[in-house]
Structure formats: structure tokens, C-alpha cells
């Protein structure tokens, strides 16, 4: 046997990692000559620039009956703009080694751009063109529509996706959050170029825009670039108001039969919104429940002790108009009822007793220590800074954030556990062929 000196067990109790105390990263607030604002972290170590931006709006701006428009737009953004048809645009993108992506969230339309410094002028211009002058040509539209429909066809047979869509529908009904982001076979079949143009005109506007940039560019040059890229967009958005939603609670279990050996269950409850005073305690609690991988209760009880699943986890989704707490487990059909019972018991135990002091200390040690890992690369820094802006947390949030986590007390977590974890109100969708019927006590209750 090899001797390694110090006892490893002792190493578990060290103080806060150095990186958690801040890396001296400097965030500049840049305002362009034309008044467009962005956060910038300059870094000239690599000849690269990463940009992330978002327009508030997202898929919840899909008009009723037109589910999937925002998602359709994201798939069309490199299909031609200005004088360039789709092939010309895409060949240009490739020659410039440009990386451009759009993604439709519930509340935001997200954009991402990466470029080599050497190509930045041409790349910025192509991004401008894509947003200000999209073509949405008929043949490109037909092609992308066929791709989205094929994707939906695959999704129909993906247990996790089916469970998630069904859950949203049960929780949010006809609210935009209850509708599928990618749309349905029916809605996508009916989407027209006009629908896409309308969406872009309403949502891609400067008043709802936030931007973060990291990399090989200085503030002055970025200011000019911002005007160039975003200056052609309308000043004002035309967003439809989205009502606040109060997700329906259970107890309710819905089984959707699919011929697969392993069932996937999504379970959830109401969450905590980002600006609720309980958000940070809830975030710490979620780590203990199911957000912390092998350090979480659900992983310990379901996987480590019982071998019932490969994956089991939970997350907070603080949507702008209705927050939820959602968990997921994949387990063989014979073990679905047992897994869900274990999960329900564990949520109940945490609601009644709270976590142990050791669990709380470990959660805070991880969450504060690992925060620095989110700032490893230009793209990850840009993404962090973007979400801080989307959630309106302030430019000093990176500096404040670990102190907010440190300040969470046992009383906070116990209070939030009681508020959040209501095992008798779980809303659960199960996709597969669970062997035991999904019995739950009591009738589904309106929220």
C-alpha cells in the first residue's frame, strides 16, 4: 500500500478556495455613441471575441395558435439576409469561421457570437445583416420547416421531452408557459414568412436588449461595433403583455404510455422567483435536494443507496411570470412507484426537518467555491454577465454573490423548505410503461 501523508478526510474542511474570493476580473459598462449599452471584460490573451446578447421576449411572445414562431426564427437566422441567399450566407459564415447561434428561451431570445479578432469587422457586419435584413425565403422556410417537423416527430418518441411538455401543459394550461417552445406539428405547419418577420420586428429591438462581450476588443472599438451591429434595429419593441401565472399543483400523476423499458418521470412544484428574498436560500436548498449531483439527497437515496436510477435531479426555473421547481428521474418500469415514493419521502423529510448542518455547510462551500469555475472561458464569462443583466442583478453582482450565499442560515433554509417542498402537492408526469399504477392520495386540486 502506498502512503500519501496527510489524511484526506481532513482536507474536506479547508477554508474558502482562493478563487472564490474574486479574480480581479474588471467589468466595464460601455455605452456606444448611439446609446447602446454593453458590459465588457477585456482579455487580449487569445485572438478571440465572445458576445452574448438577449432580447426580452422569447417564446412567450409567440401569438396564440402560432406556437413555435420564436424557435422557427432561431433556426432561420443563418438562412440568408440582405443580398445573400442561404447558401451564400452560410458559405460566408464558414469562410470567416464565425460562430453565430440563436436560442429561444421562455422569456428571452438569446444570441451568441464568437469570432477570431482578425475577422471581426466582417463577422459583425454579417450579424447585423442577419438581424436587420433577414430574408426568410420560401425555399429556406420549407427546408427549415421540414427539419423542425422531423425534430418534433423524434421528440414525440423521446420520453423526457414528452414528460416535460405534458408537465408544462398541466401546470400552466393556456398560459404561454404551458405551450411547447418548438410548437406542434399543426402550428409549425402553418407558420409563414410574415409570422417570422412580425416576430423579429416586434422583439428584435433596442429597448429590450442586453449585451455582454468578453475578449480581444477595447471599449472604444466595441462602442462603434455596437452601433454597427444593433443600430439598424427599431428603437422600441412591441411586446404583448404576459400575465403572471400561478402553476397548478397536484397531487396528480399523469401516465403517458410509451413502449420503453425505462420510464421517465418529471415532478414539480411552485418555485421561487428571482427577486423573491427567498431565492438564494431556495437555491441553496435545491442544491441539497437534487441540484448537487452526488452531494444531493435525491442522488444519495435513489441512486447511491438503492441503485434505482442513473440520473435523478432537480432544478429551480425562476421564469419571469411564474417560477417552478422541477425534478426528473429515469428508472426501469418495475421501479417507478418505488422511486417516486423515495423521492416524495425525501422531500417530506426535508420539509419537516430541514437539512443537517453538515449538508448546509457543504452546500455553501460548494456553491461559493465553484462560482469561479463559471468564469473559466470567454464564452462562459459572457454568458454569466448576460444572465446577470437579464435578471437585473446589478453590475456588482459577481462581487456580492458569494456573500449572499454565505449569509444563508439554517432558519432560512428550513423556512424555504417548508414553503417550497410540498410532497403531497406534487404534479408528476410519467412517460413509459410503469408496472404499478401511479396511485397518489387524493384528487388533483386546482392551484
Amino acid at each position: 500500500m502506498v502512503r500519501l501523508g496527510a489524511s484526506l478526510a481532513a482536507l474536506a474542511l479547508l477554508a474558502t478556495p482562493a478563487a472564490a474570493k474574486g479574480s480581479g476580473m474588471k467589468i466595464q459598462e460601455v455605452t456606444s455613441p448611439g446609446g447602446i449599452r454593453a458590459w465588457l471584460v477585456e482579455s487580449h490573451a487569445n485572438p478571440l471575441i465572445a458576445m452574448r446578447f438577449a432580447f426580452r421576449g422569447g417564446a412567450s411572445q409567440d401569438e396564440p395558435g402560432k406556437d413555435g414562431v420564436a424557435y422557427f426564427v432561431t433556426a432561420m437566422m443563418d438562412e440568408g439576409a440582405g443580398d445573400l441567399d442561404s447558401t451564400a450566407f452560410q458559405e460566408r459564415e464558414q469562410a470567416l469561421a464565425m460562430r453565430m447561434d440563436f436560442d429561444a428561451g421562455r422569456d428571452v431570445m438569446l444570441g451568441s457570437l464568437q469570432t477570431l479578432t482578425a475577422n471581426k469587422d466582417e463577422v459583425f457586419d454579417l450579424l447585423r445583416l442577419a438581424m436587420a435584413k433577414p430574408r426568410f425565403d420560401e425555399d429556406a422556410l420549407a427546408r427549415v420547416r421540414a427539419q423542425i417537423l422531423a425534430g418534433l416527430k423524434f421528440d414525440e418518441n423521446d420520453p423526457e421531452t414528452v414528460a416535460s411538455i405534458a408537465w408544462d401543459k398541466l401546470a400552466f394550461h393556456d398560459h404561454p408557459y404551458g405551450r411547447p417552445v418548438k410548437g406542434t406539428m399543426q402550428s409549425v405547419s402553418a407558420i409563414t414568412a410574415d409570422d417570422l418577420h412580425n416576430y423579429v420586428r416586434r422583439v428584435f429591438a433596442r429597448d429590450k436588449l442586453v449585451i455582454s462581450v468578453v475578449g480581444d476588443i477595447d471599449a472604444e472599438e466595441l462602442g462603434k461595433a455596437l452601433d454597427k451591429i444593433f443600430g439598424d434595429l427599431p428603437e422600441k419593441s412591441e411586446l404583448a403583455p404576459v400575465a403572471d401565472a400561478n402553476p397548478t399543483l397536484g397531487p396528480r400523476r399523469e401516465v403517458i404510455v410509451m413502449d420503453v423499458p425505462q420510464s421517465v418521470a418529471q415532478f414539480g412544484l411552485r418555485g421561487v422567483s428571482r427577486h423573491d428574498n427567498d431565492f438564494i436560500p431556495a437555491y441553496v436548498l435545491n442544491y441539497i435536494v437534487g441540484g448537487g449531483g452526488f452531494s444531493s439527497r435525491l442522488m444519495e437515496e435513489v441512486r447511491e443507496k438503492r441503485g434505482l436510477a442513473y440520473s435523478v435531479y432537480s432544478n429551480l426555473y425562476p421564469y419571469q411570470h411564474g417560477a417552478v421547481f422541477i425534478g426528473n428521474v429515469a428508472t426501469k418500469n418495475e421501479a417507478v412507484a418505488r422511486s417516486l415514493t423515495v423521492i416524495q419521502d425525501e422531500l417530506g423529510r426535508l420539509a419537516d426537518e430541514g437539512p443537517s448542518q453538515a449538508e448546509l455547510d457543504s452546500a455553501k462551500a460548494y456553491l461559493t467555491g465553484a462560482y469561479a469555475l463559471r468564469f473559466e472561458s470567454s464564452t462562459s464569462i459572457a454568458s454569466q454577465l448576460l444572465w446577470i443583466q437579464i435578471e437585473d442583478l446589478g453590475i456588482d453582482y459577481v462581487k456580492k454573490r458569494n456573500a449572499l450565499v454565505e449569509a444563508v442560515t439554517m432558519d432560512d433554509v428550513k423556512r424555504v423548505a417548508k414553503r417550497l417542498l410540498a410532497p403531497d402537492r406534487l404534479l408528476t408526469t410519467i412517460v413509459g410503461k410503469p408496472v404499478e399504477p401511479a396511485a397518489v392520495a387524493g384528487q388533483g386540486a386546482p392551484g
Binding site: L8, T117, N157, G293, K332, E376
Partner: protein
């Protein structure tokens, strides 16, 4: 158009360094001081292709069991200790390697290095740990393979592509063999392959070489050599005398899909320059919306909703290339197969254009630059190559070697490797047609809210 190629030369500002400890452990240090964090990876030159016959899945099973405990780490505490130190950890297994990694603040490197060195030789497994974890890997198999007809077909295609080489055996294992895996199987694989002279340590991030050397000598350096030479001798593939077609009809298939695999060399097994040519061939042929297969099948002929392909370039003994096409609503597998054959024939006969090569090369070389933005991606980029026996120079000179590839080189590898007898065609058909519940009408939804 070589703007990207020029930029690539400006990267790698600090030299990557490598050295070998007295016990044979290779160490590579990739300094990057932008953020006060480090990635540690240990790559064992052992994977699923090194398993004894009948024990498929043991390499991956052992990877799971490595998180259980040692004399110093109580059962189930490994990842929890990493997490309490503000770190993230995980591992992965493929046919040729098993790799373990942690991402931590720089001042925690000593801790994770001590832990990783400890479990290289001091793994302790209880029968209960093994039994429970075996249920977990069986669930993992259900998630990754059995629940997904596309994955089932891929598994069958790999088995057909490699008639003799163990690359045909799934990394996760065949279910009936996984069910029988024991603690002794795991420990026997562990004792055979987990040794300093059969591993590579990569540390990337906010560190200096001397610091890593001192830490590595204090931890891994204390482990004696295994002694006996670890040999990786795998049954090799015979020449193939016929193409194979595998058809899977599955109600869950979604859309008809056709895939085509060819055996091709990997970077490690190729003659000089061939892998680079295959890399660019596949980027031109099958990567994204500007690719040949996409243009022909999706844009022009409109038989496919989507089409693309890939090159698996990291194998020790062999690599492979693949093409796929997903049928449009009104097209059949015959339509797709004919169209794929057309693309292959065109690549073999007329090759690619200089313009296609220039664009593909710009974007391929840029990948190298983009990877330099992330220390964990850098660690992986080096790890894959070094574990397959290549050198640090091989990795660093890769963009230069890409620049030397000509259109003639690409046509030559297309003719040499896109050969029918070395191919397997996989067809996935949604039969009988299945209507499920997404959208407005939950056609197959049963037991509505049973309560």
C-alpha cells in the same frame, strides 16, 4: 482565404510542457493564467476494447466504482469532498481510454491530486457497493440505449462494422454480460491497467510547470511502478469481403433514417497526412449546411429533412466516418440510400473543389483557436491525442499539417476509404406508424391522472 489560419499561429503563447516521473507517469502541463482555476485529468490507457471476452462493460463499470472509496476516502465520499472544496468532477470511458477529471480553484490542486493518486492504487470495494452500482449501470444502459431506437441501431451497426475487433462491442456492455459483472472482474481490470506507467496526468490552468512537478512527485510519484509491461493486444479486423445492411423497424423511430459507416484510419493509426485529409474531407462532405451531403440531399434533391456526418478520429487501432440522412415526410429509405450513394460516388470520382477546401480549412483551423479559450477543452484536446500515443508536437503542429492538405490528397483518401466492402448501412424505419401525445391530442395517453 486563410485569415483563420494566420490567427492560429498567434495562440499557444505559453509553452505546453511535458515530463515523465521515475515511475513512468507522463505529465503534461498547460499553463493559462486568465482565471485562478485548474483542470486536472488522469487518462488511463485502458478502455472497453481491453476487456476480457465475456466481461463487456467492465471498463465503464470500474469507472463508476472508482468513485466509491479508498482507505482514506470513506465510501461514497469522493465527489462530496471535491464538491466541498468548490470543485466539480466526473469521468468518462471509451473503447481506448478511461479518464477522470476535476475542475477546482488553483489552491485546491494539491488536494485533488492527492485524491486522484490515492485511488490509482488504493481502491476499496464492498460487495454491496458493487451490487448497487451494477443496477445503476443497467439503468444507464436503458437511458442511453434501450430507450432510444437510434442508439440501438448504432450499437448494431458497430457490431456489424467490426467483425473481429472489440470496437464492435458496446462500451457500456451487452446487457446479459453486464448483469453478471462482479467485484472481482472490476478489481482484476483495475490491477491490470491502473498504474502510473499506463497513465497520463494533464494539468491545465493557473499553474506553473515546477509547481505541478513538485506536487506530482509528492503524490503520484510515491506510487511504485506496476512492473509488468501493460500490453494492449486486441484482435484486429480482417479484410471485409462484403458490405452489410442492418435494418431496424421500431414504432418509436420517429422518421426514417439512413446511416452509412465506413472504417477509416484514426489519427493514431493513419499514415502521415491521411487523417488530416480525412478530417477535411468529412468537413467538406458532411459538416453543416454548406456540406455536400446537405446541399445535395436537403437543398437540391429535397429527399431529406436533414443530413450530415462525422469522423471519429481518436481510436488507437482504427477510426470511422459516418453519414446520415433523415427522410422528409414523403421519402423512403431507398431514396435516401440512393442519394447518399450519389454523394459518395461524386466524392470518389471528382473529389472536392479548392474553394470548398479553403472554407473547410479556415473553419477547421479556427476550432483549434476556439478550443484555446477553455482550459478544460485544451486538457481534453491534448489528452485524446496523447492517450493514443501521439506527442505534444503532433497536437501543436496539427494546424500546420492541415494547411498542407491538397484537393488531390482529399480525393485520394475518398477513393481509398469510402469503399463499399468496408461499409455498413443502417436503416431505421418507424413501423408501425406511431402517434403519441405531443400537441393537442394525447392519442396514446392512458390512465389520465389516475388518482
Amino acid at each position: 482565404m486563410s485569415v483563420a489560419a494566420v490567427a492560429a499561429e498567434e495562440v499557444v503563447p505559453e509553452r505546453v510542457s511535458e515530463f515523465t516521473l521515475a515511475n513512468g507517469l507522463d505529465v503534461v502541463v498547460i499553463p493559462d493564467h486568465r482565471a485562478p482555476v485548474v483542470t486536472q485529468m488522469v487518462w488511463y490507457k485502458a478502455g472497453a476494447a481491453d476487456e476480457p471476452p465475456g466481461s463487456s462493460g467492465i471498463a465503464h463499470f470500474l469507472e463508476h466504482l472508482m468513485f466509491k472509496g479508498t482507505d482514506k476516502i470513506p465510501t461514497g465520499q469522493f465527489s462530496k469532498i471535491i464538491a466541498r472544496n468548490g470543485g466539480e468532477d466526473n469521468a468518462f470511458t471509451n473503447h481506448d481510454v478511461t479518464a477522470y477529471f476535476q475542475r477546482v480553484a488553483r489552491d485546491r490542486l494539491a488536494t485533488v491530486m492527492e485524491m486522484e493518486a490515492d485511488r490509482m492504487v488504493n481502491l476499496r470495494l464492498t460487495p454491496e457497493d458493487v451490487k448497487t452500482e451494477r443496477d445503476v449501470i443497467l439503468e444507464e444502459r436503458r437511458s442511453r440505449v434501450d430507450n432510444d431506437p437510434g442508439s440501438i441501431l448504432q450499437e448494431q451497426m458497430m457490431a456489424a462494422l467490426y467483425r473481429n475487433h472489440p470496437y464492435g462491442i458496446p462500451i457500456i456492455g451487452w446487457e446479459h454480460e453486464m448483469e453478471e459483472l462482479t467485484r472481482e472482474d472490476a478489481l482484476s481490470f483495475y490491477h491490470r491497467f491502473y498504474a502510473p506507467e499506463n497513465a497520463i496526468l494533464i494539468v491545465a490552468g493557473d499553474v506553473e510547470t515546477d509547481e505541478v512537478r513538485a506536487l506530482a512527485e509528492k503524490t503520484f510519484g510515491k506510487i511504485p511502478r506496476h512492473g509488468e509491461h501493460v500490453k494492449r493486444v486486441r484482435p484486429q479486423e480482417p479484410e471485409h469481403d462484403a458490405a452489410v445492411t442492418v435494418t431496424l423497424e421500431d414504432a418509436r423511430a420517429g422518421r426514417t433514417t439512413v446511416q452509412r459507416y465506413y472504417i477509416a484510419p484514426s489519427y493514431a493509426s493513419a499514415k502521415p497526412g491521411e487523417a488530416e485529409a480525412i478530417d477535411l474531407l468529412m468537413r467538406i462532405a458532411a459538416h453543416g449546411a454548406t456540406s455536400r451531403i446537405y446541399k445535395r440531399l436537403v437543398v437540391e434533391q429535397k429527399v431529406a429533412a436533414s443530413a450530415g456526418g462525422w469522423y471519429t478520429d481518436s481510436g488507437l487501432d482504427s477510426g470511422r466516418v459516418g453519414f446520415y440522412a433523415i427522410a422528409g415526410a414523403a421519402h423512403t429509405d431507398e431514396d435516401l440510400e440512393r442519394a447518399i450513394d450519389g454523394v459518395i460516388a461524386e466524392l470518389r470520382e471528382t473529389g472536392v473543389t479548392q474553394d470548398e477546401l479553403n472554407r473547410a480549412r479556415a473553419s477547421q483551423v479556427a476550432e483549434f483557436v476556439y478550443n484555446s479559450d477553455s482550459i478544460s477543452r485544451m486538457a481534453r484536446q491534448y489528452g485524446w491525442r496523447l492517450a493514443a500515443g501521439m506527442s505534444v508536437e503532433d497536437v501543436e503542429e496539427w494546424p500546420d499539417r492541415l494547411k498542407q492538405v491538397t484537393v488531390d490528397d482529399i480525393r485520394a483518401v475518398a477513393r481509398k476509404y469510402l469503399v463499399e466492402n468496408d461499409s455498413v448501412t443502417g436503416i431505421l424505419k418507424p413501423v408501425p406508424e406511431y402517434t403519441s401525445s405531443i400537441g393537442n391530442k394525447p392519442a396514446q395517453a392512458a390512465g389520465n391522472g389516475k388518482s
